[in-house]
């Protein structure tokens, strides 16, 4: 089963919301994504970029900063349906990722195996991001490996 997959870091180049992008930078320095045959993408404009990034992918891991009340820096796995709670009011980088994902799911254009790594950013400044990104990258690796081998799948 190891169809080609994608790992997408979502965020803004400003502030703590940069952590998703930072995770991708960490992954670019590692060998396993290429060995797994997955593409790495940085997404700062979800509505404009996500549809193209996810099209033709057999599986997808999305990594983004979240505010869920947890300890800052904590990386947690989410299913798509756990996060598609809002109708998508605009964020500072265009239509939000959750709204775009909800739209793609409604149109049947989301990879069947899609899951999210959310990294809690709380109210911290971005000085802690490097440490968060390393932890996030490890969580992404575990999830991506599972999705690629079909051991985990997200009910989309």
């Amino acid at each position: 089963m190891n169809e080609a997959g994608v790992i997408v870091g979502i965020g803004s180049e400003q502030g703590a919301d940069h952590v998703g992008l930072e995770v991708i930078e960490v992954l670019r320095q590692q060998a396993w994504p290429a060995e797994l045959g997955c593409g790495l993408y940085s997404c700062t404009a979800p509505a404009a970029q996500l549809p193209g990034m996810l099209s033709d992918a057999g599986w997808a891991v999305l990594v983004d900063g979240i505010r869920a009340g947890g300890k800052p820096g904590t990386a947690r796995r989410y299913r798509i349906d756990e996060l598609l709670l809002e109708s998508g009011s605009a964020s500072s980088h265009g239509i939000g990722a959750s709204a775009t994902l909800a739209l793609l799911r409604a149109l049947g254009q989301l990879p069947a195996r899609t899951a999210i790594i959310g990294i809690e950013i709380g109210t911290e400044t971005d000085t802690a991001i490097e440490g968060w990104a390393q932890g996030g990258a490890q969580a992404v690796r575990e999830l991506a490996t599972a999705l690629a081998c079909g051991r985990a799948h997200s009910p989309c």
Partner: protein, 440 residues
């Protein structure tokens, strides 16, 4: 005696616009007493950040001002830099820059029409709610958006914050085979773009004509996108360096983005007026430069210019998608790989300006360089900040015409729809705030 109705409408966060803005309207009876489009995104200080930077850093830096219109920022910037250095880039670079820019228009307009505007006109809260009843419409929109992304990635290296642009040209020229594949995609999608235009022409749009000044680039030969003089379609015909002589920027208490006014007699010649930039302004001034097939379709559906109805902006965007696909095909049919995709740059001291047509309207840059090509001073005027006063005027007129005796929720919804006609890019608009440092 009946007291006049008083309502206060506060939309704390405008939905389906890029960035964070809010609206404050105070109504008494049948009059709007106060109306403020509040932008409270923190100023991003790009003009200050650029000071001391070398000219070659500017394209990558300004591309990060906006995730939706990075090419526009790069194009206005390189124009200004190349003018300051008296650099002629040649026809290949100019043509491919237009193609890159067309890609951004396609992507930006497709995103706006389908994900931001269509829900308003079809009676849905958002595009997700539309998906069950209009899946083909949304899928077509995503395909057009992806076409724009592919054009941008081919010439810019990637679709967001492109890295392929450099002062003097491009870092690399795409292979002929890649361009041929793109041409095939463009041909395929032209029919979809025309179908989209027809769909917009058949929408039931509010009829609301207003009187306003249109400001856009002008050209004798073409529907301008990458370069041209600045015009109001009447007496104004200036080049980019004269922009400050006719347009004034100033701060208002309720917005972190500067407001702008146009002064037909010059900034020292009297009061200024608000003005419109963007797709409808361009369409009103350059309709006759659209491809014949596009004009014929629009005429056949009874569309005529000039239009004073900002709800026709969705039609203008659809027409510009057709124009962009048609224009990109025309430029790429005779594509060849040059010996070198850029011309060498020799920096020099000087000040110059550049102006191009971002998807949302004219985007003006000015830079002063030292003899080593480092930025001494930078100034950037985005289209959304220029449209702010027009938006506030439009809101006042639109809501009074809509009827202030309607339920508050209806007034709020109509106000949001009016703002979305302008496709405001609020994050772009807040790049500058005057900074004063007081030292004890």
């Amino acid at each position: 005696m009946t007291e006049p109705r008083e309502i206060k409408i506060h939309v704390p966060v405008l939905a389906r616009v890029e960035g964070e803005g809010s609206l404050q309207i105070d109504v008494r009876g049948d009059r709007i007493e106060t109306l403020h489009l509040r932008i409270f995104e923190p100023p991003r200080m790009f003009e200050k950040f650029l000071e001391g930077r070398s000219y070659h850093e500017i394209p990558d830096a300004v591309a990060r001002i906006c995730g939706i219109c990075p090419v526009a920022y790069q194009m206005s910037a390189v124009q200004a830099i190349e003018t300051a250095f008296e650099l002629e880039v040649g026809p290949w670079v100019q043509a491919m820059r237009k193609v890159l820019y067309y890609g951004e228009w396609i992507q930006s307009h497709a995103l706006h029409i389908h994900l931001l505007a269509a829900p308003d006109f079809l009676g849905f809260e958002n595009a997700i709610a539309m998906a069950d009843e209009h899946p083909q419409l949304l899928r077509r929109g995503l395909r057009l958006q992806e076409l724009g992304n592919r054009i941008m990635a081919l010439f810019g290296g990637r679709s967001v914050h492109p890295v392929g642009v450099r002062v003097g040209g491009f870092h690399r020229a795409p292979a002929i085979s890649d361009v041929q594949a793109l041409c095939s995609d463009l041909e395929t999608h032209y029919a979809e773009a025309m179908a989209l235009l027809q769909w917009t022409l058949e929408l039931s749009l509010p009829q609301q004509d207003q009187d306003f000044v249109c400001i856009a680039l002008g050209s004798e030969e073409e529907y301008p996108i990458y370069q041209g003089f600045i015009t109001d379609g009447r007496a104004l015909k200036i080049d980019a360096r004269q922009y400050p002589d006719y347009f004034r920027e100033f701060q208002v208490p309720h917005s972190t983005a500067l407001h702008s006014t146009y002064h037909p007699q010059g900034v020292d010649g009297g009061e200024g007026v608000d003005y419109l930039v963007g797709p409808l302004a361009r369409l009103d001034l350059h309709f006759n430069k659209l491809p014949a097939s596009v004009r014929e379709l629009m005429h056949s559906r009874g569309f005529s210019v000039p239009s004073g109805n900002l709800f026709h902006s969705v039609i203008a965007r659809a027409a510009e998608i057709c124009l962009a696909i048609h224009g990109a095909l025309e430029l790429l049919r005779t594509y060849s790989v040059p010996d070198r995709p850029y011309v060498p740059v020799g920096p020099r001291a000087g000040t110059a300006a550049g102006c191009s047509e971002a998807p949302r309207g004219i985007l003006w840059h000015q830079y002063e360089f030292d003899r080593r090509g480092r930025v001494v001073q930078a100034r950037i005027v985005p289209p959304t900040s220029q449209n702010q006063r027009r938006i506030e005027t439009d809101l006042r007129l639109s809501l009074e015409a809509f009827g202030l005796d309607r339920p508050e929720q209806e007034i709020r919804q109509h106000a949001e729809t009016v703002v979305r006609n302008y496709d405001p890019c609020i994050s772009c608009a807040t790049h500058f705030l005057e900074l004063q440092v007081r030292r004890a």
